[in-house]
Symmetry: C2
Subunit: 233 residues, 2 copies
Amino acid sequence: MSEIPIAALVLARGGSKGIPLKNIVEIQPNQTLLARALHTIRQSGVFNAMWVSTDHEQIASEAARHGATVFARSATHAQDHSSSLAATQEFLHAHPEINHFALIQCTSPLLRADYLMQAAHQVRAFTDNAMGMMPSCAFSVVRSYKLRWRIADTLNGRLQAINFDPMARPRRQDWDGELVEAGMFYFSQRQLVMDMGIFQSEWCTVVEVDEQDALEIDSVRDLTLARVLIDME
Amino acid sequence: MSEIPIAALVLARGGSKGIPLKNIVEIQPNQTLLARALHTIRQSGVFNAMWVSTDHEQIASEAARHGATVFARSATHAQDHSSSLAATQEFLHAHPEINHFALIQCTSPLLRADYLMQAAHQVRAFTDNAMGMMPSCAFSVVRSYKLRWRIADTLNGRLQAINFDPMARPRRQDWDGELVEAGMFYFSQRQLVMDMGIFQSEWCTVVEVDEQDALEIDSVRDLTLARVLIDME
């Protein structure tokens, strides 16, 4: 298989609202969220470069201390409403040498190196097979067996089952469930992001991650849970 | 509003596999899962009766100690493959006086009394409006903003987005999300369960519960999380 180079990219702006400087909050004694992500990225052994895009000095120095190269994110792309897409486009624009990359969320602290290895393997295998004709992509999903409803008629409150027959509710063992985006990482390619404005096409492959690893840090409560879960490992 | 009587029903068989006698595991010092559920049920003040259906002596005595009336569940309906539906039918068959009831899962320890109050209110209001012409039902849902995919072509690994347009990924603030069953409780009616074999029709109302309350106890890990979450309250 070709060893196409893949760059790891972590977006870590300073102005997070829920938890101030969330990316460099300690998730374990002497380990910040960012340090943990960078450790897992290095541990996977599948990246030829490790970047952190940030607008904040403290985050930049934490990134550098843990072996990442710092990209100076512009203030324009570090607002509350700034999208990961725009920030990634800014980064790729400045780095024309990067074709394949993986956006990795340091707010998913239960990310495991083997998930990244699997995604990199899939992306490289696809690139070989497609002979570079199609952009490759891979992202994390959780298999879910949840039953979903929509309110079909707001006035009378009528419901409609979306993904099953209410008269014959499926049991877990009777169906394959659905794939729900876990948001841990997005392996993608320059062309998708720059030309099409997306990280994922319908020609992506997926990496199924354990539901128990899918925790994302949004609140102080999530942080507490993550600490307990990491301690239990 | 009519005060139609609603019976609370907890199904608690002895032979749970993942955690032995799960229903009477301690979730807090001196409080079992079952005791906690019965406490919340009583606290809600909306039920005229409180039943626990079980095949196990220890569960029965824990139920009685916390004020529930015990229904002797037959061994036939207490197998690994036994459905809640069959166990509820068995119970309703023996209790023809019960028309409205709520199946309440004691494996959802973050259940709150106000959720039960809201569901009871909705069921009673509906029964008033429909003048008994239609069975009423209400159940718990969580609003989810997760993006979902299916594998459209297993051979080539092609994906298909289920609930969004990949070229214009919705942001959380741009859509209402979806209603995912939380499984905490099912307010239902004899006719639905006995004649149609379902707890929910499409004419149910829903009670939206906080995503953070939706934890269900399946594993020892879930138990640990629940203990931490209850301590944080």
